[in-house]
Amino acid sequence: MDSFLENNGMYRGIYCYFSGNEGNAAWCKGLDGILPLGWEWLGYFIAGFTIMLVLVNGALLGAALFVWGERRILGRIHKRRGPNRWGPFGLLQPIADLLKLLIKEDLVPTIADRVVFTLVPVVMLMSLLLSLAVIPFAHNTYLADLNVAVLYFVAVGSLSTIAIFMAGWSSGNKYAIFGAMRSVAMLISYEVPLVMSLVGVVLIAGSMSMVDVVNAQHVPFILVQPLGALIFLLGISAELNRTPFDIMEAESEIIAGYHTEYSGIKFGLIQAAEMAGVLAASAVLATLFLGGWSGPVFSSELGAVWFLLKLTFFAFVFIWIRGTFPRLRIDQIMAFAWKFLLPLAFINLMSTAVEVYFFGFYNASADQLGVITRNELWVMAAINSGIAVVAITLFGRVTRNRMETEPVRLHKFQSAGTVIGVN
């Protein structure tokens, strides 16, 4: 608890406002709190609760804003305007959608398992909100600084897989369970390259805590680990059921996916969970690969602004990809994961491990491996970029024979007379 107060400025501020007294003078610098002596635990509780409220509301508001942003940007990609009738620039459009969903009838099929059916939106939203707990938003501002934060993020993120299976099973609809099982197969096979790509980042930073990762990024890791960033981006797109991996939720041919039977606000919550999942993924990408709240100027004061900018950039990348690519078939998705992403993840992991060992060895002091300095990070960036290009090209050659497209031939008819026959 002590190190918690020491490092987390927001927590400390709220705690000291409530519970500062002589016993806490080391951290609270002599401010007097509101609560009487002996009630410090209430101060802890209120501080944690406040930060959690800020996070949860921010996430849900962000989901609404993301819905708005996605519809506007997709509209501009299509050379039309997005929704712009409700509110200035259409900003209240998500509110209109929410109202519409609230007044719809809430159907539960007769043969469905009621308890599980109702729990599914809760579990989906829960998994993404839990994953927001470890992300540092600004200098010394976060809810928790776990020393296994990266692992925690991956573990909590895979709770949504369970939610999808619950949705498919409890709907009582054979098409829903068919779609849900395909989806679960896809999701668990994309976990593997996802985790592998994160291990590279962890190796360079030296610890799994996100705060340490941000502090170790003298050079943004997207340059140092280009292959890892690409694999993580593709893997998290598949986890979120975004195009081009969205067989489950787009009008997927005839089988409408795991959320067929959901209507009304349950459906709204599932959609909100998916949109907020994109935001959570963008937040993690911004933290692990672009440097979180650090920026070129005014890092410690404007950390939140830099973080939001990077988050917006990655959210834009997700929307951009959605607007451009068609969908892949399920067997092609699995082949992509196992035959393309996984070997690349292994190559990335091995090369990063070798580099970290040699640079650590180079900087070694008496009995421990040294920290990697900034120049060495640039060297690693160069080496890794070269490896990325070589690896992708090699894999391209391997799959080239299936991708070869011969153009259609233009048949020049010799005579264009009135003879009916083949020329």
Binding site: T324, P326, T405, H411
Partner: protein
């Protein structure tokens, strides 16, 4: 221990986002593989052929607009060819050039719909569809200048074309011809080399040449299978024998080839339109026929064109009165559907929608 499985029959119903119109398919699946296909159509039947027996020859022209409603100009052209053969009149040169120009513009518009919806079925979330429709908007604006309506045009009359294009048509057409190749190239950059499109359409839905010819398939489906047959070259009508253009022919007969054939045909149509603009002579646009036609009794004629979907033909029998005795429509989409069983059985569910999109049927034509 062997699993007991049983095939599942489902309906891809008349209302569906991915079928092109009200088309019903009863498909029997064994797991993910299609075992049997049973198409059921008739949901858009309006009795056009029977209605044509009650209306005089120019009124039937307005019925023909609505057969293949994405390509009305070529419907009009086929019908007018049939009536002209019945009456024994010929069309002046300028009328022929205007007809060909309108028909080729319509071919571009119809192929844009085919390509746009093909990519929409692949899942590209309406981006290529919007780009295709933006191009089509320019063509429909040109049609509005020509004849006052965008889709159900009724531009042609037996004997030629009904009106001279207005003066602001030619600059608008020139502007369209200048800016469109850039937009088509942008569309190509978006989709032609896209690995996802290639990997989903290459090698699926293969139609062999012998089977295509045996099932009277025509149009881009036949040319995609490798057989070079185009009615504009084999039996030239209007002014096609004096225009130089090529006919794209595919290699393997899969979905990607049919899609590529349509893209190339768009470019060839641009070539034809630019030649028409250069070569069009002055003169009358229409052979003057009476307002109410009475062809000689008990003649029959068959007028056919190469419409964007295939060979469209009208078979007319006259009985000396103002209305045809029998008007039969040989519609390409209906006959192209005969190969559906061969194209779908044995393939997976995800390929079915793509293959249906690449045959490019139009229910107005199938059901009439």
């Amino acid at each position: 221990m062997a699993f007991k499985t049983e095939p599942m029959t489902i309906n891809i119903g008349p209302q569906h986002p991915s079928t092109h119109g009200v088309f019903r398919l009863r498909v029997t699946f064994d797991g993910e593989v299609i075992v049997d296909v049973d198409p059921i159509f008739g949901y858009l039947h309006r009795g056009s052929e029977k209605l044509a027996e009650e209306r005089n020859y120019v009124q039937v022209l307005t019925l023909t607009d609505r057969l293949d409603y994405t390509a009305s100009m070529t419907n009009n052209q086929a019908y007018c060819l049939a009536v002209e053969k019945l009456m024994g009149v010929s069309v002046p040169e300028r009328g022929k050039y205007l007809r060909v120009m309108a028909a080729e513009l319509q071919r571009i518009a119809s192929h844009l719909i085919a390509i746009g919806f093909f990519l929409q079925d692949l899942g590209a979330l309406a981006t290529p569809l919007m780009y295709c429709f933006r191009l089509r908007e320019s063509i429909l604006d040109l049609f509005e200048m020509l004849c006052g309506a965008r889709i159900t045009v009724s531009y042609m009359r037996p004997g030629g074309v009904f009106a001279e294009p207005p003066e602001d048509f030619w600059p608008a057409l020139r502007r369209f011809m200048e800016e469109s190749p850039g937009l088509i190239e942008e569309l190509e950059n978006l989709i032609m080399e896209n690995e996802i499109v290639v990997v989903r359409t290459k090698g699926t839905g293969i139609l062999g040449i012998e089977s295509a010819i045996a099932n009277s398939v025509s149009g881009p489906v036949l040319r995609g299978s490798g057989f070079a047959w185009d009615w504009r070259k084999a039996d030239p009508y209007d002014i096609y024998d004096q225009i130089d253009f090529d006919v794209p022919v595919g290699n393997n007969g899969d979905n990607y080839d049919r899609f590529q054939v349509r893209m190339e045909e768009i470019k060839q149509s641009f070539k034809i339109v630019s030649q028409c603009i250069r070569q069009i002579p002055d003169g009358p646009i229409r052979t003057e026929l009476p307002l109410v036609l009475r062809p000689p009794a008990w003649q029959e004629s068959y007028g056919r064109v190469e419409s964007p979907k295939g060979e469209l033909g009208f078979y007319l029998v006259s009985d000396g009165s103002v209305a045809p005795y029998r008007c039969k429509v040989r519609s390409p989409s209906l006959l192209n559907l005969h190969v559906l069983k061969e194209l779908l059985v044995g393939w997976k569910l995800a390929d079915m929608i793509v293959t249906l999109g690449s045959i490019d049927i139009n229910m107005g034509e199938v059901d009439r």
